[in-house]
């Protein structure tokens, strides 16, 4: 049964990882605007003219 010690440790590490990712998402501003992305995702990408350097990471708005 001692394996449970290990499992608990793993489960806590996994959960903490998700918490950390959530913090990152909050900091990146993902929860600041919960409407526009839902519209943006429906736009067609134009194959030719789309420029790659459109900022991918949403930086914080400072």
């Amino acid at each position: 049964m001692e394996v449970i010690f290990l499992l608990i440790a793993i489960s806590l590490v996994v959960a903490a990882t998700f918490l950390f990712l959530f913090f990152k998402a909050i900091k990146g501003g993902q929860f600041d605007d919960d409407y526009t992305p839902s519209v943006r995702i429906l736009f067609e990408n134009q194959p030719k003219k789309t420029i790659k350097d459109q900022p991918k990471k949403s930086k914080s708005y400072e």
Binding site: M1, I26, F31, D32, Y35, T36, V39, F43, I51
Partner: protein
């Protein structure tokens, strides 16, 4: 001679979807209503951005508003202004965020995010639709700020840049900290529940002694972030309340948290028992959830705008016969400034030009411009209509008559005292009662069973921790806020709901609030107008943007416009049209050569043909359609007052149509309005002020609840507690009744949570409250209160007609 005009369906503009009623421009086989719209299409077509038109039908905004001045963005070249506006700047790149109220559909988002296809110097742009903001990143070596703004304005997305944008104190509007705290609490709570379940089902013993201890210690570890981070707001709030020698709801919460934590530590480390850490986690998780729910804000609306949000950033100064555009902040008393058509008067100033035509609609709500003569004082906030005028500045913008009114008066925090939230009033009694019960239980047990005495004392504090109690307010008020928002009544925060419920006096501003410019009553007095004359008039007035022309245009409703040979507008005087060789004049008495009729009140527009006066239009502002019903509905429960800046010539007409119980007050200056509200407050009346203009700003601030009425909610409105869309004016009685109803719901749910407290307390005083009971009772009470308030508010919303159920 009569002429019949063929009826035709007018083509719709491909860009903005408006009827093309003047000349239809055909370009690229598409119809456009004006050059502006055609130009936008041309720019988009050239850059392969016509997808703009396929996302939404006719997504553009009409560009009719006319020729704008070429140099109106010159102030953006000023390094101080640019520095104030830019978010970020390095050697090559600049970032700037603009507020663009014109953003209204998905096509707008698409176009603004594809700006880089029009100008390569734009690296990227990102739209925040809810806030109507766009963040632009551009290479300032190839494109300066002025050119960028020009590009946006050509496309019909002219950013609204006002003086307040230059103050660089833009805190992130979304409160990320509460969300982070909720995440921490949720993480800890979830894991603590998992570690506590074996204990509740006696599984821990099966696993062996080591596990039970481990689970308890892990719970202690997980409780630390909750107690020392997630709960921090409650400590601060409780501490502030205690220092002010009052008790708010957060005081018993903090008592509970401390009791929870210390007692559980003692249980776990000295007794080897499980403690109540999981319930503590649940408590904070639910509390923070309620907090987030209550924080609903209407991000597009600004309730605390000061005069800076209204004034322009720059002004044209005349120095040594040369024009220069300077930032408003550098304007000095005595400067001579030039104000062009449609521009705002930024400071109280003397008129140096022979005459001006000032539209004070933002100030008074009356949109008919006021003619002003040389040497008269013009107040800041007016807008010039007509040719450019020269002014001499008398006072700085920050000290003008209206901003003075705005800045003086009591601070909003000070006036809140009269209406304390229900929860705060109850919490005082609640806290003392709980402490009394805890000490009584302690005194009862102390002689017989000392450990039991401590257990009873702490568990009383734990179980009575007003989780359910403190959740009933945020959820009821949060729901009310959302339901009001659907009815286009936007409150600044949840507290306003409680204040609305307690209001007993309603004060209306007349112009623009009770009256509606679009509902003007028009009479033509004079010779009967022939069909032909009507056609000529129609052709004349529909070309003019003057508000009186618009009203006559509406009055001429069905007339078909005639073909004119010529038309000219003398700004501030009238219109002159030529038809079949005859000169038609429509306008002031001087312009038409009519004898002025001093008896007439309201606006008078004379008509002459070949210098023969045919008669005059008598135009009076009409009541809003629903105004009599609203007044009637409120008359029973509220004291009603009307404040008007106008002369009292409309008193009779008004009192005939409105209930006689209203107190009318005419000739009220803005400071009179403020003092009127003050005197009502001093007699203990709880006032709700409804107003629309800058001249109501003082009164709106002074009243317990100030509601600004506006036709376009995203546009400027004076600082207020709530913003009401003018279309929802008829629903005011429902809103007020709903606010009272939601206060009853709060009271009822308090009763419900007291019930849980009584059950919990009766177990706690006997020392019977086990961790598992606590873990069941606390979430159960919270959830049932949330379910109850949500159901009750929505049911009430349906009954009051504020929620419309989908007919399907």
């Amino acid at each position: 001679m009569k002429q019949s005009f063929p009826t035709q369906t007018r083509p719709k503009c491909y860009h903005c979807g408006e009827d093309c009623d003047t000349d239809v421009l055909v370009f690229d086989e598409k119809e456009f209503c004006c050059q502006g719209c055609r130009l936008v299409y041309e720019v988009l077509a050239e850059n392969g951005l016509c997808e703009f038109y396929s996302l939404d039908s006719n997504p553009g905004k009409s560009q009719k508003s006319g020729a704008k001045l070429r140099n109106r963005f010159d102030y953006l070249d000023d390094p101080d202004v640019a520095k104030g506006l830019l978010d970020f700047k390095n050697a090559t790149e600049s970032h700037v965020t603009f507020y663009i109220p014109q953003i209204h559909c998905s096509s707008c988002i698409w176009l603004l995010e594809n700006l880089f296809q029009i100008n390569a110097a734009i690296i990227g742009s990102r739209v925040d639709f809810v806030k109507r903001k766009v963040q632009l990143k551009f290479l300032h070596g190839k494109l300066n700020l002025k050119e960028l703004v020009n590009l946006l304005s050509i496309l019909g997305y002219e950013p609204s840049v006002s003086l307040s944008d230059l103050d660089r104190e833009r805190a992130p509007q979304v409160d990320r900290r509460t969300l982070t705290k909720l995440a921490v609490a949720g993480f800890c709570f979830g894991n603590m529940m998992l570690f506590s379940i074996p204990e509740y089902f006696s599984e821990a013993e099966l696993l062996g002694e080591g596990f039970k201890g481990l689970f308890d210690y892990l719970n202690v570890l997980l409780s630390l972030p909750i107690v020392f981070y997630a709960a921090s707001d409650y400590y601060i709030s409780a501490w502030h309340a205690v220092r002010r020698r009052s008790l708010n709801m957060d005081v018993p919460i903090v008592l509970g948290i401390v009791a929870f934590f210390l007692y559980s530590l003692w249980e776990i480390f000295t007794q080897g028992n499980a403690g109540y850490m999981d319930s503590l986690g649940g408590l904070l998780f639910f509390l923070l959830l309620g907090k987030i729910y209550q924080q609903k804000t209407f991000a597009t609306l600004k309730f605390d705008r000061d005069y800076k949000a209204y004034f322009p950033v720059a002004v044209t100064r005349l120095a040594k016969d040369a024009e220069e555009v300077i930032p408003l902040t550098k304007l000095q008393v005595g400067d001579r400034i030039l104000v062009r058509n449609e521009e705002l008067i930024p400071a109280d100033a003397l008129l140096l030009s022979p005459h001006a035509n000032i539209d004070y609609s933002f100030v008074t709500g009356e949109e008919v411009p006021v003619p002003t003569q040389k040497g008269e004082l013009i107040y800041a906030g007016g807008r010039q209509r007509g040719d450019a005028v020269m002014l001499a500045v008398q006072k700085l913008p920050s000290q003008s008559y209206l901003t003075d009114l705005w800045n003086n008066g009591e601070k909003p925090e000070e006036r809140l005292q009269l209406l304390e939230p229900l929860a705060n009033r109850i919490s005082g009694i609640f806290t003392w009662t709980v402490l009394a019960i805890a000490f009584a239980a302690f005194a009862f047990w102390i002689g017989k069973d000392t450990p039991m005495a401590f257990k009873a004392f702490t568990t009383v504090l734990i179980v009575s921790c007003p989780c359910a109690l403190s959740m009933s307010t945020p959820f009821t008020l949060g729901n009310t806020l959302r339901i009001f928002g659907k009815g286009k009544f936007y409150l600044k925060n949840a507290e306003v709901v409680e204040k609305l419920a307690l209001v007993d006096t309603v004060v209306f501003d007349k112009t623009g609030t009770l009256t509606d410019p679009a509902k003007a009553s028009i009479d033509f007095v004079g010779e009967t107008l022939s069909q032909e004359t009507r056609s000529v008039l129609k052709a004349m007035v529909r070309q003019s943007t003057h508000p009186l022309s618009n009203r006559i245009n509406q009055w001429l409703d069905t007339a078909q416009p005639a073909m004119l040979e010529g038309l000219s507008e003398a700004k501030g005087a009238g219109l002159e049209g030529k038809y079949m060789g005859q000169v038609f004049r429509l306008g002031s008495s001087e312009f038409t050569g009519a004898e002025k009729n001093a008896e007439l009140k309201g606006n008078v527009v004379y008509l002459s043909v070949e210098s023969v006066v045919l008669g005059y239009f008598h135009i009076q502002s009409g009541l809003r359609q629903s105004a009599p019903e609203v007044v009637q509905a409120l008359a029973g429960d509220y004291g009603l007052h009307i404040l008007s800046g106008d002369h009292d010539h409309e008193r009779e007409a008004l009192s005939k149509r409105l209930d006689a119980g209203i107190k009318f007050n005419f000739n009220q200056s803005p400071s009179d309005k403020l003092h009127y509200i003050q005197s009502l407050n001093q007699t203990g009346q709880r006032t709700l002020m409804l107003g629309d203009g800058l001249n109501d700003a003082g009164a709106l601030r002074e009243s317990q609840v100030g509601v600004a009425i506006t036709d376009q909610v995203s546009h400027f409105s004076p600082a207020s507690d709530a913003i009401l869309d003018a279309g929802s004016f008829a629903k005011i009685p429902s809103f007020l009744a709903f606010a009272r109803g939601s206060r009853r719901i709060v009271k009822f749910s308090f009763g419900l949570s007291f019930l849980y407290n009584i059950v919990g307390l009766s177990l706690a005083v006997q020392g019977l409250l086990s961790p598992v009971l606590c873990a069941i009772l606390m979430p159960l009470s919270s959830i049932s209160v949330v379910v109850f308030t949500t159901l009750a508010t929505h049911l009430m919303g349906i009954r009051k007609g504020l929620i419309h159920l989908d007919p399907r």
